[in-house]
Symmetry: C2
Subunit: 304 residues, 2 copies
């Protein structure tokens, strides 16, 4: 199919490059890296095999891009307001927009901007970072859970899965809410805590006090999701996330990187939104509310 | 009366110096500052009037000190095991030991070491710090709440109050549990949060997110105290503590100073102990449990 990538960074760049390498037609929207990628191409360094696209289809302006069958959105959610301008040129009547972003409530807001667009959530279990212009350093994992939000064309989703598999990407579908909330079980503790304690995942897992706290925070997410009627986000899943994180090398989640580079943190969709839903469902998440307050404090201190 | 001071620092030094200045006989146990105080005396710089004791009664060894009527203990609670050696020389049959220390459970443990000793809690509402050898910088407040733990001689407590008043120290008695838990309402949020967010009280009060969090943490303490049967530790009191803190200049509580100077933090009595009591009473304090975990993580990171 024809793919478009909005936000050619650690996430959008990785999946787009894998698809392009496997022979798909992939159109990349670039911003600061445009000149560099024009000259040197787009690289992925990965334990699963490096990729070098010498002459990718790159654009500086979305308006120059063609309508696509699937658009991968890899923007930070803080920039989703830009989609009002960036997305329309890439849409045809049946385009699937895959929002490969963290947090809760993303599709709801994008759907409000584009009431007839066909949306799905992409939950990337991947450790990846853009380390220099045009170079994405993929560290490990890489699977993609897809949660269909508003696409009536199941065949399109199936075809997307097939093409991802052919590109060497593990991918599967999950019910939309389950996909988003399962990801939140990992994201909500680790993204914020690595910022609050200025550390990496491994540090939190090896200290017994922070380890217990991380598990309690995971269980807060599970209880909230269950209260919201989401199935399969339970203690057993939290335990799986603990074990998976134990097996990871020391890792800095995206929010920690955002903080280190003094980029805005994705507090709204990662914390504020799910915390509000949990409160409304009568199942507040006090430790994660505290974490949100700490993150807001840390971010706003810079502005003071 | 004859007073002894164990722990001649920001707290013990302040109250001891005020009592000595007013004419009481005060014996000070000193450690690292002994030589300095012998030569230059003991100073308090205070908006309520400076004190300079040119020739205070100072000791390097507790064994050289006389039995006293009242012993003010100003040690950090982390050092209370030292009382086994330091306290006996100062005790006669009727000595009152005033533990001017933060936290919950202090008297219980000291009583176990000295089953017949007469103990009271001293809760200092004071902003004070030892800024250089032999010099205590008193910033503001200074009142002392006294909670009788195991002294059958009420007249002795009354006399202590009289002599404190004569020394210019605001002091009053409160029921023991109420005195300790009221102090915890302020201590538990501010001591830890100024460490976790590396800030001062004013920063926490002016940012709306941390301000809300501080209030929620105060209410956690109030609910736990109420569940434990302690009266008068309620929302109205928490509100008073918020207002008092609003009126304070930017302040670094003792735990923040301990952390800055890489001294051990008083996590056990300030957090672990009250958190356990609250859980046992069926009224856990989740935000303060999280704060304890953060503090343990911060402290143990140094040792790793």
């Amino acid at each position: 199919m024809r793919y478009g990538v909005i936000g050619t960074g650690a996430i959008g760049g990785y999946y787009g490059a894998r698809l392009a390498q496997s022979g798909q037609e992939v159109h990349f929207l670039l911003h600061s890296d445009y000149e560099h990628v024009c000259r040197f191409g787009l690289r992925v360094r990965s334990p699963q095999g490096d990729v070098h696209l010498a002459h990718p289809l790159v654009y500086r302006e979305a308006s120059a891009m063609p309508p696509c069958d699937v658009v991968l959105v890899g923007l930070k959610t803080n920039n989703n307001h830009l989609l009002a301008r960036l997305l329309p040129p890439l849409l045809h009547e049946h385009t699937l927009v895959l929002l490969i972003q963290n947090g809760i409530g993303v599709e709801e807001d994008v759907q409000r901007m584009f009431p007839t667009a066909r949306l799905a959530a992409g939950l990337a279990f991947i450790c990846s970072a853009k380390t220099e212009p045009g170079v994405i350093h993929h560290q490990f994992y890489g699977s993609l859970n897809i949660g269909n939000y508003s696409c009536p064309d199941e065949a399109l989703i199936t075809r997307l899965l097939d093409e991802l598999h052919a590109a060497g990407v593990e991918a599967k579908t999950l019910p939309y809410e389950k996909a988003r909330w399962r990801k939140a079980v990992w994201n909500m503790p680790f993204n914020g805590m690595t910022v609050a304690l200025h550390c990496q995942t491994k540090d939190l897992m090896t200290n017994p006090h922070s380890r217990r706290l991380i598990r309690e925070q995971m269980l807060e997410v599970c209880r909230a999701a269950t209260a919201l009627g989401v199935e399969g986000v339970d203690e057993a899943f939290a335990e799986k996330m603990m074990e998976m994180t134990d097996r990871m090398i020391p890792y800095s989640p995206s929010m920690r990187l955002d903080r280190d580079f003094r980029r805005p943190m994705e507090i709204d969709y990662l914390y504020t939104r799910p915390l509000r839903l949990a409160r409304e469902a009568g199942q507040p998440m006090p430790r994660l509310e505290m974490l949100e307050a700490e993150l807001r404090f840390i971010e706003e201190r810079d502005l003071a």
